[in-house]
Subunit: 324 residues, 2 copies
């Protein structure tokens, strides 16, 4: 396949004009019918930093790049919109791999209700993928920022934590004593994270006051909410929902499972706050959206994040995964 | 400067919330008040392909990446909006260079009325910059597509051509007999192209029927309008406005200046069509926007691009610059 042929094949994966997309691929820019508010994020994944071609297939790489971008919109509670993807490809990326990577991006976008409305494909010295996602809202009240937490709010999280970082440990060499099925399942979490878009909208609608996606881990991301909201968040380490198999992997490598769950990145679950009066609604909304929520602690007056151990004492020095 | 310090410094260059930007940097996504139509393009520049750090300063690279993205919106006639920039940086890019690159992007965006509303900064194995630009329109009638040319329309171009490709030749080693001042001026055109945003809006408002920005050269880009519009475009090579100094450089390297002007890429001028009845208005609009326009030929019934030589015969085989 020639480079131009490859570019043409990838461009055919872009959604045609239709629905809200008035001008699709094939013009200088896409033209889309807007809602009153545009919610936009740009996110880049680079080989050797965010993924490794030795352990991630082209499909994994495309999926993860799109998932990571969409997760930012999940954390805002935005309605689905459009994705724009750029693929900077080195010469040793095969045509079939490039097509699989682009198809994985298009598939995940479509599954979440987004139209892949534009893109760029260029030659480069290393594989770098950038995804810009645009979601929509009809009013500011639909959206949840990081800054809305108030003292007394419940602090909670969707799903379970630690699967992605345990999966990465398994990819780097299955720890002794961990069953292959467990290692494979955890590795799949790392390779193909699922953004929580439906849950994000449901939690926003049910009254979440502040929200962030867990890309770097609770220890880092909860601190972002604390800072942006000017409140303290007291999170009990023992309350963290640890994903199946994480305990097994953590013990095999001599780490505390709950510390792994608190500091491991790329789970792409949602950490959020909600007023106590909305807690029952928020629980129900998460459950209906397929994302059961767990109470982790409470927002207090003193600013900053306080991770509390089983003995009731604060744990110092825990820091999330920095991936870029 | 630590990597996190650098990221923080670059993030500070992002415009704060204000005006139409309700949520700026520091949340999971930017939130912007929309117009009825969003006009969006994503554009990537990679080192070794679109620029070379040996011949382009960090400021050149940032400027050019932003200019190339904005030029797509110029060709649509969109109103200014927001830019979102991703910087994938190798370890050998110094902190000062990264800051200069980001500042050049922010400066050009601001000069054209765009807010740099979001970004991402990651480590990578090679330097890759992706810019997503969002412009706005209040109705479809404000915008110009590639597909609106009709038989009988005038074909025209803004500014003068060939300066960027002549400048690239000068960067690769000043051709013998070309004065240094000329070589420097042309090299500056290559390094810091100016997108034609004001001219694009003016031409759209004055009645342009189809428009494209000249990233690959007339020989390729005019063919895109011909294909999208289902018309033929007869362009007289002799009519091409050749930029000052291009003739000197072309002769020094044994090339025809007009062929260089027709096939050289990255001039970022606008090629457009307009009904004969609107030609006077379009000329005046270009002049007022600081972009004098030159008539190149006419749209006809037979599809495709026909480049016509001084002898009235079609010139075959000319193809624009493919930059990635």
């Amino acid at each position: 396949m020639t480079e131009l042929g490859l570019i043409a094949a990838i461009k055919e994966m872009l959604g045609p004009a239709g629905g809200r997309v008035l001008v699709g691929p094939g013009d200088d820019a896409a033209v889309v019918r807007a809602h009153p508010l545009a919610v936009t994020s740009i996110d880049t994944a680079a080989e050797g930093v965010h993924f490794d071609r030795a352990t991630h297939s082209a499909t994994d790489i495309g999926h993860k790049a799109m998932a990571s971008a969409l997760s930012d919109l999940a954390a805002m509670g935005a309605q689905p919109g459009e994705a724009y993807a750029s693929l900077a490809m080195p010469g040793d990326l095969g045509g079939d791999e490039a097509l699989a990577l682009a198809a994985a991006m298009a598939d995940l976008a479509a599954a979440e209700g987004f139209t892949l409305a534009g893109g760029d494909v260029v030659t480069a010295r290393s594989l770098v993928i950038t995804v810009t996602v645009v979601g929509w809202a009809d009013s500011e009240q639909e959206l949840v920022r990081r800054s809305g937490a108030r003292p007394g709010d419940v602090v909670a999280v969707t799903g379970a934590l630690g699967a992605s970082s345990a999966g990465l440990l398994c990819l780097e060499g299955a720890p002794a004593g961990v069953e292959q099925d467990t290692a494979d399942r955890l590795a799949a979490h790392h390779r193909r994270p699922q953004p929580r878009l439906a849950a994000g909208r449901a939690l926003a609608g049910a009254g979440a006051s502040a929200m962030i996606d867990l890309s770097d881990g609770v220890a880092t991301d909860a601190a972002h909410i604390a800072t942006a909201s000017g409140v303290g968040l007291a999170v009990e380490l023992a309350a963290l929902p640890v994903a199946d198999g994480v305990t097994e992997v953590a013990r095999a490598v001599g780490r505390d499972p709950r510390v792994l769950a608190a500091t491991g990145g790329e789970d792409y679950e949602l950490l959020f706050c909600a007023p106590p009066a909305r807690w029952a609604d928020v629980q129900e909304a998460g459950r209906r959206a397929g994302a059961p929520v767990t109470r982790l602690g409470v927002a207090e007056g003193a600013a900053g994040l306080r991770l509390v151990g089983a003995d009731g004492r604060a744990i110092e020095g825990l820091r999330g995964y920095e991936h870029g």
